[in-house]
Symmetry: C2
Subunit: 349 residues, 2 copies
């Protein structure tokens, strides 16, 4: 009997972070008697008078949204980070250590339409979202008090999203958070050794193997990473090793919009529901240093495992030991590759 | 204006893992319009003929449970780890790396009573669970193919627990998972520098400050760690720096049962529900080395934030950046300290 990664439990190494995931391919047969998720209710009006993100409506903080027609961005009324924090901290023998942290939290409405989500928007409409990411990254990243800009989206109530109006967020802050810090370390070590970015070489390997590739266009590739933790986790990788969205050419921005649309349609089609996920861009720190090692990419972390109602729980063992998954990344890539790029609800806009 | 950790956003350093958490004390005022959790149904029979953990019932794998009268342990019928895995792996330029992993997954029934949970059991009954942890750790840890033994419990459907019968699990394996590996590294560095365990010194600081201490007995202390990520996260620390449960004296085992009972009663009383959590012991690796740096402790990671129906979501920013919390650990410790140690449902057994 020899080791077979489609059958035997194994650990996979995440080349981007240096962490491991436990893969249990045989475990997918396990019966599920636990919590059933409730799929999001699907019939939303194009305009909701009670929604604090719809055009023309008042927000919780008292301000009124303009009658915006494509995208709209504003400072989060309940941001986890604020700009006006006095410096200071605590340090007691290295055991109690805290540091003041300052930053800015922004909210980005993707569309004036309350009833849409990214996969239901046109490519030109998504391109406007990409353009906003570019201008926000440029403006926030240029501030001397901002050294990292995290752009992300929580989609669906299962992912803690409290408003179904299509929107994302930006948390920009003084320090570089843990995840991009780990990725900086690994990418830098690789770049120093080989003079190429880690993701450029990784992409090359994946494009030869094909088994984890989900879809491609001229400038981007989507694949289920070899080290994926979430059942249908994917990574969107720029073919050209750019450090951040401001370096994308006009055709590359179009291509990013195109690939996001096609990927999110496949996700929705997988279980014929509005597919929940958290997703976000990882880009170079805006700390004023050159970062030739950094290679722009976007992570999609969707929680569902087997159907619209059965999710993967990252709980006991995962919190105390290592993340664990029940199906192989290759299996998941195959499922996503099979999906149509026509949305199951038909064209909406 | 000077820095005030009860008001200003800040980052706290986890001395056990070397990671940071973003604390946003001001953010607790944020209104919540997102997903509402459904509290678990509370009326369960003492015996459920359809439960695969109740005494005398058949399991999915076909075996029949004995008519056990206190605790009962068996191999998980759908374990994520199996013992008979051929060695082997993959390594392509450090980018695709996998290793076969072997191990054993065990299930521990805490009580024959289907309707109980730890806080509703007597201290002598919980002591039997502690004794089982001890014998399991000893037996599994002695195997040459097992270098780490993770004992844990997922409580409640919100934490992916698929059967309400009171039970925990053990996943024992060849390699040391990421979380205990990080803790080993930090504890070892501290021990090498000071000749004392990190947690012994940390405990001393916390017992002087008192503000994060929740409850104590002669041999254990429960506190909300300075670096807590989950709203009501706690850590149970042994006063004596022992490396694993087998080193606990008879009175220390009783004291562990006592403190677990009192802590879980406080948790249930906090929102007057059966409080969901994932919890587990962290102990020395069973790799045949001396581990004087290791200090036995137990983590409790409960998801609820503000009430029985509003949980904390570790999503977009947390998955892509750093964990984030909305109330301070000091506030949460105060709330837990306020709770009675009489269960809101009264004595059950
Ligand atoms: O083993 P169980 O209780 O069926 O499953 C639960 O705990 C496991 C260990 O934390 C997780 O991997 C599963 O996602 C969770 O549903
Ligand atoms: O900012 P929101 O959408 O209100 O909140 C959501 O996203 C945040 C950032 O990932 C999380 O901290 C919250 O727990 C989650 O509910």
């Amino acid at each position: 009997m020899s080791f077979d990664s489609t059958e035997h439990p194994h650990r996979r190494f995440n080349a981007l972070t240096g962490e491991w995931v436990l893969v249990s391919p045989h475990r997918s047969k396990r019966p599920w008697q636990g919590q059933q998720e409730e799929p999001e209710q699907e019939h939303r009006p194009a305009y909701d008078p009670t929604c604090y993100l719809c055009p023309g409506n008042p927000r919780v903080g008292g301000e009124v949204n303009p009658k915006y027609t494509d995208t709209y961005v504003f400072n989060n009324d309940f941001g986890a980070l604020t700009a006006d924090v006095p410096t200071g901290g605590i340090d007691e023998g290295g055991l109690l250590r805290a540091e003041a942290e300052s930053g800015i939290c922004r909210v980005i409405c993707f569309s004036p339409r309350h009833d849409l989500t990214l996969p239901q928007m046109t490519t030109p409409a998504i391109r406007k979202v990409v353009d906003l990411w570019v201008s926000e990254f440029a403006t926030l990243g240029a501030r001397p008090d901002i050294n990292y800009v995290q752009i992300f989206e929580n989609k669906g109530p299962m992912m803690g999203c409290s408003n179904p109006h299509p929107h994302g967020q930006i948390w920009a802050q003084r320090t570089v958070p843990g995840e991009p810090a780990k990725e900086t370390e690994r990418q830098l070590a690789y770049y120093q050794e080989y003079g190429r970015t880690l993701l450029a070489d990784y992409l090359k390997v994946e494009l030869e193997k094909k088994e984890r590739v989900v879809l491609e266009n001229e400038h981007f590739v989507v694949l289920v990473p070899f080290w994926a933790v979430w059942p249908f986790e994917t990574i969107v990788i720029a073919r050209r090793p750019v450090q951040d969205v401001t370096q994308l050419s006009d055709p590359e921005r179009d291509a990013l919009a195109d690939i996001l649309r096609r990927l999110t349609i496949r996700y929705d089609n997988l279980f014929s529901i509005s597919f929940p996920y958290s997703a976000g861009l990882h880009q170079r720190p805006t700390d004023g240093q050159e970062h030739p090692e950094w290679h722009l990419h976007m992570h999609f972390y969707p929680p569902l495992l087997r159907s619209a109602t059965v999710r993967k729980f990252m709980v006991g063992y995962e919190m105390l030991g290592d993340p664990q998954r029940d199906v192989t990344p290759e299996f998941s890539a195959g499922r996503l590759r099979e999906q149509s790029e026509v949305h199951y609800k038909g064209a909406v806009e």
